[in-house]
Symmetry: D2
Subunit: 343 residues, 4 copies
């Protein structure tokens, strides 16, 4: 039995970890921290967990967390980096769902996140937790930087094309649409239903923090320099990301469908849809699955890849658990076989 | 292993049965029928089932269905009554999610459903599948009439009060709000998102088919005649029912919270919320659970009971499986322990 | 030309006042205050007003506001009462959209609103701005207490019945559903789309601030003591209130449809729907109209009245302008003839 | 007074014409046809029009329509082409909101719309009703082909760039998101709220009927051949289109913001947002306005244009009335000055 702790249990990724870990057969969640709600039963704040979770929130405390085998950080950026070192030193594995360890370039991290990094040395050790790319490294890692939601959907859609040098890395476009839960469980005007309901908008067109992360991930598999235009949008729904990816084919003679099917044939959580399919976020809602469809409209030289995930599962908590399963030698899909909630 | 068939697999209750039965450890679904889609793979129409369901839809056929241990009817009203007899005769248990066997009074059924009943004799045999009321009868039943979604939420909320004669049965009000999936997967103007989105409306105020069903269920536990005003509404969301129930207290000296907690203390799927709680459909979404809160505003003589369910689970497919578990001597909650999808 | 000022222009009722007043032929808005956004152009924060509004927000200041003919308070509770006196003294008419002057009983106000009233003397003078009830008093008033959104929908639905003593005032039930904009434009967790979308919930069952206001309004037209059970709910849409009202008929011989049609035959903004109609908030969205449908299900002794409004128009800004039109001897419907936005 | 007829008054563009024409000071709607609902009062089907529209639907009849000055066709594709000739011959101006006269190449029309064109001769005469491009021709036209909703948003966003040869016409990408009302008021499974709510999807990636229309419009202003990748998506809201347009700059030295502001400086219904702005469909909801924002992320050679409209107004009924105003020498914005409904 793996003893797990969750730091920052009151946000959406925190409660999603609880939803997925509570029925996980090999895990016992023993600590859930929340500074603000310390002492309160978890199921008071989340009545959906009544009957499944007897825990109370506690204040975050290294000694308590050190009794866990693994600690998940479902915290705002800047928190994990202040505690990870102490936990690693006590032999605890750390899976960070925030952005603290995602960028290998600490200077770039500082620019995008607006603070000094508290432990640049650990950045080098951290393994980027995209199992479809880094599975072997994850198995032996002590510290995982769980990918962002946008980066997960975009990288899984672009990587087979870059690895086979099928598209021009210098002209990539990712037009991505997210549900509102990506903004987190924070009291902020811009996330009100009156502001987001029944409306569609773009945001952060001039530069979103996930841009350098995606670029880093794509560059690692491209021989030439990656140029990416990344435009995020907010769509009036709660869960789901739909990435529409555009690339310019350098070789129009290849069977693109076949290349994607081959690339992901052994991947449990990447489902390449049949030729001609559309992608729809509802079909992956609540699951750890990425569904991908590949198109070449009008047989032109633009390839269109549609990649959908649930931002809170494959884009956050589910992927974190997938990493944990690998780190603890469990079957990779344990606890992650929920079917999508349709309709 | 229980071999199960589903007649009418393309509607929302049909696909919800598949979502819940596919991972059920004791069930193998062997037949899913759809006249219109016979020959098509189920996961072509429902990509959410890719990887979990290899079946094709087939045309409904008694001989094929007779090889099952149990057949679920997720069909429009009027279908199950034409096939149930033949299946029962072949030793197959039948669980009908439609309304064909819900009303014991065949004349009343004809008035509300606008057709002659095809097998009035079986109506008498059918057991009304509300386990919290009829558990023992369900265990030995051959034919189950699964309750409607509104009747489930309303009966579970009113019954403890009627059984204890705490409220006047002659003046009951059920103001109930449903998500739009209750209208089914049918091409109809009134169910378009442009018609239902961003708007709230009442409907069928003059008389809804679930009225006689609820009345029948309440009357069975009331010594005096039940008079019920039932007003259904449509709320712009997909899943969920929120029943707000009003009764006039005949005895204001009782601890109402305690009465509800006691009434449901052994029920896995009825969760009486702590005193002072509100009810919220999100907390039961995707689950087989009914959550109930009890209030007596301003300590007056009106009691307000809030009762929420997911109309497609406890109000349809989940309850059907709960019945099946009982009929086949399984643990009642097998395959029904999903946590709610929040947010 | 009426010179109008708006105190608290950044909330939803404030911007709704701007939407309605900008094209009003007899009004020039000259001041819009916001402490937080003083100096910012209004259309920077509300791009929907680009081209219609050249104003900047200014800090609230009595001298500046005193140059207006009328000042609207679209502020949180507790603000208007601190400024109204000074403005009235300068000859400015005041229309308060908050709750400061709604309750005639200052003690009751203090209990429900949790603060001392700053000017109890003005409470007595204030006219409750429901034109369908108080039209003549409004015409000569200096200070208007604009009704709350719930109270508007509920009173318009119940009053004809109480006035004709058709229902028992001792057993009234108002089951009311509101869109989320009623919570205002405030950064608060409970108003996030992730919290409210795709879910339906009750709230404040134990007592909502609009309860005493409704009771006061109903009591004024009832010979016997009013007992009201008022249960508000939140429905996942932005605008709209649907009140479902239940009363026990004391006289079942009257033509209820006729009574409502007669009661409102001269009212521009109350539309009694034809017999047998349902009510739907979409049909009044964006308008100052209340639509009402009257039902007597199963010809029993329970009457069901459906009453729908747009909470931001007839429930707030539109009604305020209707009051202003009356106070300044304009046609009551000037600037308020928008058709509903359907779909 | 312009006497106007509407053929096909029961769809969303038909009822939107009524919403906008009823208060139009220069127009009297005298005929509204609907084969299915002939004889029924319009406000029975659309209670939002109660008090504003006394008309009944009538069966479409050339003699009756010929008494109008102008007839709007808000019909499915294939209807206007069978009646337009007869009306023009009787001196009636025709504004077609369907696709019958949009494509100048009749062969291409047949391929995309799957039927023979009934009056190819009129196609040549028809003027494409995008006033920002064809204002002078519209003024003297007898027959207007009103642009599609996607084509309106996409052309207004791309044209200034093509006219100034700032981008490569051979590599255009239009990633466009539409609310569900674009699918019309038809009973179809794919438009159910249960299918579209709380989900985001792409559709028609392999080829949408608006592709040739957009291409034709862009090509007319480009010296080199236009290659366009057009990917439409469905977003869970009712009204609104958000086009995200990508082009490769051929000249990065120009002030893009200035070029757009200059291009549209005299246009009432195209609003170029200040530098750095995002676009949001809520800010144009219910209005005839297109709002445009221009970005060059990371100062690269990809330009991103955000263009938002209300698909039923500037994308259909509003634009049709803008055309009518021009054809009848009215001020272009008469009847089209509604402010957006926010929130």
């Amino acid at each position: 039995m793996i003893h797990a702790g969750i730091v920052g249990g009151t946000g959406y990724t925190g409660v999603e970890l609880l939803r997925l870990l509570m029925p996980h057969p090999d895990v016992a969640v023993t600590v859930v921290t929340s500074r603000a709600d310390a002492g309160t039963r978890v199921d008071t704040i989340y009545p959906s967990l009544r009957g499944y979770c007897e825990l109370c929130f506690s204040a975050p405390d290294v000694d308590t967390l050190a009794e866990c085998d693994v600690v998940f950080f479902a915290t705002p950026n800047g928190t994990a980096m202040t505690m990870a070192g102490a936990l690693l030193a006590r032999g605890v594995k750390v899976i960070d769902l925030s952005a603290d360890f995602r960028l290998q370039d600490v200077d770039e991290w500082r620019q995008w996140y607006g603070m000094e990094h508290a432990c640049p040395d650990l950045v080098a050790e951290a393994v980027y937790g995209l199992p479809e790319v880094n599975r072997e490294a994850i198995k032996t890692a002590r510290l995982i930087a769980c990918p962002g939601c946008y980066p997960t959907a975009v990288q899984l859609g672009f990587l087979p094309l870059l690895k086979h040098q099928l598209i021009n890395p210098g002209a990539l476009i990712a037009d991505v649409k997210s549900g509102v839960s990506g903004a987190g469980r924070k009291a902020q005007l811009s996330a009100l239903m009156s502001e987001n309901g029944e409306s569609f908008k773009s945001y952060a067109v001039t530069g979103h923090r996930h841009l350098p992360e995606i670029r880093q991930g794509l560059q690692a598999h491209s021989q030439k320099a990656v140029q990416l235009t990344f435009v995020p949008h907010l769509t009036p729904m709660i869960r789901g990301i739909h990435a529409t990816l555009y690339g310019t084919l350098q070789d129009t003679g290849k069977n693109l469908q076949h290349i994607f099917e081959t690339a992901y044939q052994d991947e449990t959580f990447v489902d390449v849809l049949p030729e001609g399919s559309m992608a729809d976020t509802r079909n992956v809602r609540g699951t750890n699955r990425c569904q991908i469809a590949v198109h070449r409209p009008q047989n032109g030289d633009t390839i269109v890849v549609l990649s959908v995930i649930d931002n809170l599962v494959k884009g956050a908590a589910g992927q974190a658990i997938q990493n944990m399963n690998l780190m603890f030698n469990q079957d990779e899909s344990t606890g992650l076989t929920q079917l999508a909630l349709y309709p």
